[in-house]
């Protein structure tokens, strides 16, 4: 039911873990739903994302989208990263099963929350 790309990101997820001194942390979902995604960001003075990590509790799609979004925004500016949507993440993975489009495709939201957190901390 999952594409090869999804299975690749699921079985070899990129950028798993946390960043102890993260500049921004964002989390969406809740355990009740079966999906929680948390994104950690390091951002330099030019608003470029220099490092990004994730921790996810959830199904195959939740893990694969988390992994994919970290790949998509690493090295991007915050403005560029804000343009990455859940739909774009799903597309980059070659699509998700319809039922997963709803409940497990929140990784971009988590990343946006992390950016929001960073901006709040910086007073931007």
């Amino acid at each position: 039911m999952y594409t090869e790309k999804v299975m690749d990101h699921f079985s070899n997820p990129r950028n798993v873990g946390d960043i102890k001194d993260a500049d921004g942390v964002g989390e969406v979902g809740n355990a009740k739903c079966g999906d929680i995604m948390r994104i950690y960001l390091k951002v330099d003075d030019n608003d470029v994302i220099t490092d990004v990590k994730f921790k996810t509790f959830g199904c195959g799609a939740a893990i694969a989208t988390s992994s994919m979004v970290t790949e998509m925004v690493k090295g991007k500016t915050l403005d560029e990263a804000l343009e990455v949507t859940n739909a774009a993440v799903a597309e980059a993975l070659g699509g998700l099963p319809p039922v997963k489009m709803h409940c497990s495709n929140l990784a971009a939201d988590a990343m946006h929350e992390a950016i929001k957190d960073y901006k709040a901390k910086k007073g931007k």
Partner: protein, 402 residues
């Protein structure tokens, strides 16, 4: 890669001798059992011999066995058939909250058509309390339907006691024994069962086969109308090849039951013992002893079931889970929730159901790879370890469609 099948509650492989026989009744002995000529008589004879074998497995009389297309049809037939035939007597049906959807959705359908349904709770082990059944009975109660053994957690229900209660009150008692039949000793007479649903593909028989036991004297009407098949109770040309396969599968199940069950239960107990001893944050779901010989069900905290299944699948192991992601809905298993598990814990459930082909070597392999997979998923989980204490802003506080 070697593939290991630990999902026997979903379906079982057809026994090789059964498959051979089915093929014979498809190609050579293909007659319509209703035909008068020798081809028909040949099929008829085989159908009736199968009826005897199914009856023998359940401790029933031959004329109390009606062939169906499987568990779902059997449940529909039993529940709707009894409900509509006894409507003048009453409109109340008692069932449990952990039934298969074939029972639950049939009851929901009847509720829309003037019947009242009581869904009994279960305890933490997934067991119905006989006192609750007793207290739910009203003078309008016409049917009690409680499954023999639960498909997810394997808990064996107090069937004989519920049956005795129903009998004393003149209420019909149906049990969905799809998981139990052929995998657990059943005697419908000793256990006061009026109607029992069974399915072929859970006991190494073909899919699309099954039977409903209806005790002689039970007031029931057919739900499928047409020809005079199955003594006017279930219209439709008999699936002779399937029925013959079901019959042989029942014969084999009866013959091998004791040996098979003690061997499978030993494997089950090894898994339960080892997982409990070696894997932290693991909770056994279902009753510690009163459970199907092949059923293991654990919740592993901080991981999600589908991820676990996919990882096991990559290692060649086929199992199942009660997580929402595997149920195709937003909610995890209704059985686990009815047992009082939180959503979080239910999402992390793993069901391993053993069958007669499984070996100790396969069990050892599972016990070897499972801890590694759980470690990996937990290391990735924001709910586990140090990071669980972090609580950033959470804009998604309820489950909804995003």
């Amino acid at each position: 890669m070697k593939r290991i099948y630990f999902d026997h509650s979903a379906t079982t492989p057809v026994d090789k001798d059964v498959a051979k026989l089915v093929l014979e009744y498809m190609t050579d002995k293909f007659g319509n059992a209703s035909s008068i000529h020798s081809f028909g008589r040949e099929a008829r004879r085989a159908v009736e011999e199968s009826r005897e074998k199914v009856a023998a497995l359940l401790g029933a009389e031959n004329n109390e066995i009606f062939f169906t297309s499987g568990g779902t049809e059997g449940d529909n037939f039993a529940i709707k058939g009894v409900a509509y035939a006894n409507r003048k007597k009453g409109n109340h049906i008692i069932t449990s909250s952990i039934e298969h959807h074939a029972v639950l959705h049939t009851c929901e359908y009847l509720a829309k058509n003037g019947f009242e349904i009581t869904y009994l709770p279960v305890d933490e082990y997934g067991m119905v309390n006989v006192e609750d059944v007793k207290n739910a009975i009203t003078d309008k109660t016409i049917l009690i339907s409680v499954m023999y053994a639960n498909n997810e957690v394997g808990t064996i229900q107090p069937i004989k006691e519920i049956g005795a209660l129903a009998k004393a009150r003149g209420i019909y008692f149906h049990t969905d024994a799809v998981q139990a039949a052929g995998n657990y000793p059943i005697n419908v007479k000793d256990e006061n069962i009026d109607l029992l649903t069974m399915s072929g593909h859970k006991l190494y028989g073909p899919k699309g086969t099954g039977a409903l036991y209806i005790r002689r004297g039970v007031r029931i009407e057919p739900v499928q109308h047409g020809g005079a098949h199955e003594r006017n109770m279930r219209a439709g040309t008999e699936n002779a090849p399937g029925i013959v396969g079901l019959g042989l599968a029942c014969e084999i199940a009866k013959r091998e039951m004791n040996e098979k069950n003690s061997r499978i239960a030993a494997l089950r107990d090894k898994i339960i013992r080892e997982v409990t001893a070696k894997i932290p944050h693991a909770k056994l779901n279902g009753h510690p002893t009163l459970r199907l010989p092949g059923n293991v069900n654990f919740s592993f905290l901080y991981v999600e079931g589908e991820s676990l299944l996919l990882n096991l699948d990559m290692k060649g192991i086929a199992a199942s889970s009660g997580s929402a992601c595997t149920s195709g809905s937003l909610d995890p298993s209704h059985v686990l929730l009815a047992m009082g598990l939180t959503h979080e814990v239910a999402h992390g459930s793993l069901r391993v159901t053993l069958g007669r082909g499984n070996t100790e070597e396969e069990v050892d392999y599972l016990l070897e790879v499972l801890p590694e997979i759980l470690d990996r998923l937990r290391a990735m989980s924001p709910l586990y370890g140090e990071s669980a204490n972090l609580k950033p802003a959470n804009p998604c506080s309820t489950c909804h469609v995003h």
